[in-house]
Amino acid sequence: MSKNVKISLVMVLAAAAALLVAANVAGDDSPTASTGDERSDRLVRPDSQRLSEASDGKVTFVEFLDFECEACGAAYPAIEELRDQYGDEITFVVRHFPLHGNSEEAAKAAEAAAEQGKFEEMYDLLFQNQAQWSHSEESKKDVFFDYAEQLGLDMDEFRTTYDDPATLEKIRRDKEDGQAVGVTGTPTFFLNGDKVEVSSFAELLAQIDDALAS
């Protein structure tokens, strides 16, 4: 075996060893996916944003989303369709899982709008106009303030909530909750506490129907 091959092999082995060590270290302190009550507490908090509230409380659908993520934007019409179809039969909960440059700012705008009862309206605007503000290095705060104005919000109040450190803290806590329940990317959906793993919209509908029927 030539030295060339030998050194290459040693490098690969060293990298594999480093990976194993890193995985073990991370395994020890990674948030454990808790089960039972604690888990469901972290999935939906009392102050989490809701797009609708089921009267019977039987089916809860949680989405961890990032307003800037394209996959979330792509899922948005499907979620709208879902909400059209099921309306008030299902509780739709939105949790923040910001991953991009302007994600936290967008989430702050949604939270600040929620303070004035316009969460859903801001949620719609953010997703419908995602292409216009996403993937930018600079802050899109002005754009979000424009949306707030369009919605006729009290701008002083909006600004106060937007800049309140507690708002950001809430968003970050959403993300921590997500990581604790096993969210690694967006969008991630939970149906009555279970992570939704479907390959098609029809399959999702079937699962929801099952949950409603049971």
Binding site: I7, L19, A26, A71, G185, P187
Partner: protein, 224 residues
């Protein structure tokens, strides 16, 4: 026991001391045969990936709700990568560059395997093409990892073939002196040629490490 320099010399000039993997290469020898076959195989693999990406892109344009075959989860997702503006840097879908470029690379490889002798300036063309390719895919890598936050498996196939295509084309051009090599550069070229595998392994490992680090949260969920 030959000295290291001898061995380096052996790999640069005369037939490689390692048993040839492919016997059918006719008049080609050692490093030249290696680069010829690499162009064929790398070109074909890259071509297949680029064609797949282009087909997926067309499907996505026809139907925006189409989920590409490689959109497995939020991290491994062609769909989110393909719909970005970075996917059309020059105003048209990037895979068009790949389809054309890899077809050329394959053809050049086949010509070499068939025993073609190419002029220096032709090698310069190949050098320019693979250099453009390698710079471009590193930019795309950066975009994918740090801006789009998703990986597209077919794109990664393109990354994986473009690097060796560039590296071995460069190495061949340097050792065959298609490129001007100053006397001072000669030992460096010889060293690089002797340890060509170390360079490519290191290169891949750095990228693998960056990918691992960037999406650590995701990978760690696969372990538990």
């Amino acid at each position: 026991m030959r000295s290291r320099a001898d061995r380096a010399e052996a790999q640069v000039g005369s037939p490689s001391p390692e048993p040839a993997r492919i016997e059918a290469a006719g008049t080609l020898h050692g490093a030249s045969r290696r680069v010829a076959w690499l162009l064929v195989v790398g070109g074909l693999v890259g071509f297949a990936a680029a064609v797949t990406l282009l087909i997926e892109k067309i499907a996505l344009l026809e139907d925006p709700t189409y989920v590409p075959s490689c959109s497995i989860n939020p991290i491994l997702s062609c769909g989110s990568v393909m719909s970005t503006e970075q996917a059309e840097v020059f105003g048209f879908p990037n895979p068009i560059i790949g389809v054309a470029g890899f077809a050329i690379v394959t053809t050049v490889g086949v010509a070499l395997v068939a025993g073609a002798r190419l002029q220096r300036w032709f090698w310069w063309g190949l050098q320019a093409g693979t250099t453009f390719g390698v710079v471009f895919i590193h930019w795309l890598m950066f975009q994918s990892l740090y801006r789009i936050d998703a990986l597209c498996p077919y794109c990664m196939v393109v990354w994986a073939v473009t690097i060796p295509l560039f590296w071995y084309t460069t190495l061949h051009n340097a050792t065959a002196e298609h490129l001007r090599v100053t006397p001072r550069m000669r030992p460096i070229v010889a060293r690089a040629a002797a340890y060509h595998g170390v360079v490519i392994t290191g290169w891949f490992l750095v990228i693998a490490a960056l990918i691992t680090q960037r999406f650590w949260d995701y990978w760690s969920t696969l372990l538990t």
